[in-house]
Symmetry: none
Subunit: 317 residues, 2 copies
Amino acid sequence: MARRPDGSNRLDDAARAGWLYYVAGRTQDEIASAMGISRQSAQRLVSLAMTERLIKVRLDHPIAACLELGLALKEKYDLRQVDIVPSDPGSSSTTVGIAEAAASEIERWLKSADPIILAIGTGRTLKAAIDQLPGMDCPQHRIVSLTGNIGLDGSAAYYNVIFSMADAVKARHFPMPLPVLVSSAEERVMFHNQALVKSALQLGAQADVAFVGIGELGPQAPLCEDGFLARDEMDRLMDEGAAGEICGWMFDGEGRMMSGSINQRVASVPLPSRQTSIVIGIAKGERKYQAVRAALKGGLINGLITDEATAEFLLNA
Amino acid sequence: MARRPDGSNRLDDAARAGWLYYVAGRTQDEIASAMGISRQSAQRLVSLAMTERLIKVRLDHPIAACLELGLALKEKYDLRQVDIVPSDPGSSSTTVGIAEAAASEIERWLKSADPIILAIGTGRTLKAAIDQLPGMDCPQHRIVSLTGNIGLDGSAAYYNVIFSMADAVKARHFPMPLPVLVSSAEERVMFHNQALVKSALQLGAQADVAFVGIGELGPQAPLCEDGFLARDEMDRLMDEGAAGEICGWMFDGEGRMMSGSINQRVASVPLPSRQTSIVIGIAKGERKYQAVRAALKGGLINGLITDEATAEFLLNA
DNA sequence: CAAGTTTGTGAGTAATTGCCCAAGAGCAAG
DNA sequence: CTTGCTCTTGGGCAATTACTCACAAACTTG
């Protein structure tokens, strides 16, 4: 009999229990006796399956209200692709719901038999989305990161979205091993001449689809909190009228790229052309309202995944 | 809000409620007050979302495929107990995986506080399974061998499954000190009149659960290799359409017991009734596909422990 | 238009689940 | 071998959810 001091067997059991509970619809009591454990242990396994994200729940029904909002938005901002999920008034999470929807959309693209180039940004929202991806096997596709993952202090610990994603879907991937912001335009040139970065730049320009987060600016902006941007720089940007950022590219309230020096120091891949690619922004929440609206106004994105409340704001604003 | 007198609005509500419940993780009470309906109605909507399959749950773990296969097999062949373990495509072992699973299942039965009678066959697979048993102390149970352990040449060296097992779990045990095949029906009667054999026969008939291997036939069959059956007899059996054996009992491709003289010379305990007992077959591997299928078709077993690949064959065949 | 049928509602109740706590097993250090 | 620590287990209990029933509204049918 295999002893189970290690965790791997435990996850197996959790998967089993979770499957029996959610898919087969058994009660925890039945699972307990089927697996020869106490009900409490079964409950723990089921809950473990949840917290370990072994179980993925997804809603597949176009709710009329969301659909209508989506259609209206699509028209108003001339979008190629819109996905609206219901709002949860009681929750302050900035990812719940849209992460699942984004995962579903990403999966749809990855299921394509024809090889595609999928570009991806970074950030909490995208990380949450990637976590919802099922395991896949997509050697035909290429995934390219649009932005670096190294902070001001040199740490690379940020949400390594592209690695988690490539790991889940087993596709070739092209990370950007550099900071989001470098110290000068010259340094950027230097970074961009590195072989790895060069191929990311090339691939990014040819991307069929890109999934990007939309970041708000301000003292609590993730860009600040995660140490990509110093506080005083942020203040200056705000003074100059910056309203949001995508992959580090700063834009104003009308969605025009900021003209100051800041964008010359952004080392990210330029956003793929909205003429030839689909660039899908993923964001929700009151704090991001202005940033999302600006991105839409400026045509920086031509696809959107958001929630009802945000969609309503965007329609009426 | 779009008014809709027809049912589509109801499904929308169901989707919304289901989303709030499963994705956002709110309680039905919260959903009820958020949507302005009674808790019961909320519950109905959530359950409707489930029954209408608006909510898709899936489990992203290798185990999931096994469980699904198991459920399908259980239905197709009307089984009481199915256990599918992941296949290891790189291994040609006929025991790895199922031995552990079988041990785990045996252990589960032995943990019962109520005394049970556990019958057990023989063969490499079962030997590997009981090697996986942890030490236990089960004086309340009785273990009976379903089949003899003496070869054509009189040697008793075969996989002495029952002794190893009784040793490991410290239960009373009832071996069958005779050959698998005797020379004639008359000799069988003689053997069966021995006291030891008699009690084994009686116990076997009352067994609560039986674990048996499923043997394939052919020149490389273990039955031949281990010297229980002469080569020319095997050839004759194959000509007559024999497809497999369980504890020496030969059956054809439909799982019907062979009518020739061979089964009159099998000295094993008859398989316990599938009405009152659980008879669990343990087998995997391409060479055994036909034998396992026949055993299932004929209802010779009502439980199965096998691997994914075999399970897939059994489902599609 | 009335009777019958279907569908949805709320109340009450049984079943199921989630959580806290004390006890026990496993393990490392002494 | 003992001590102290952590992690896991199972019991008990409160919260949550599922089911049954009786009734009302809406809808169908003659």
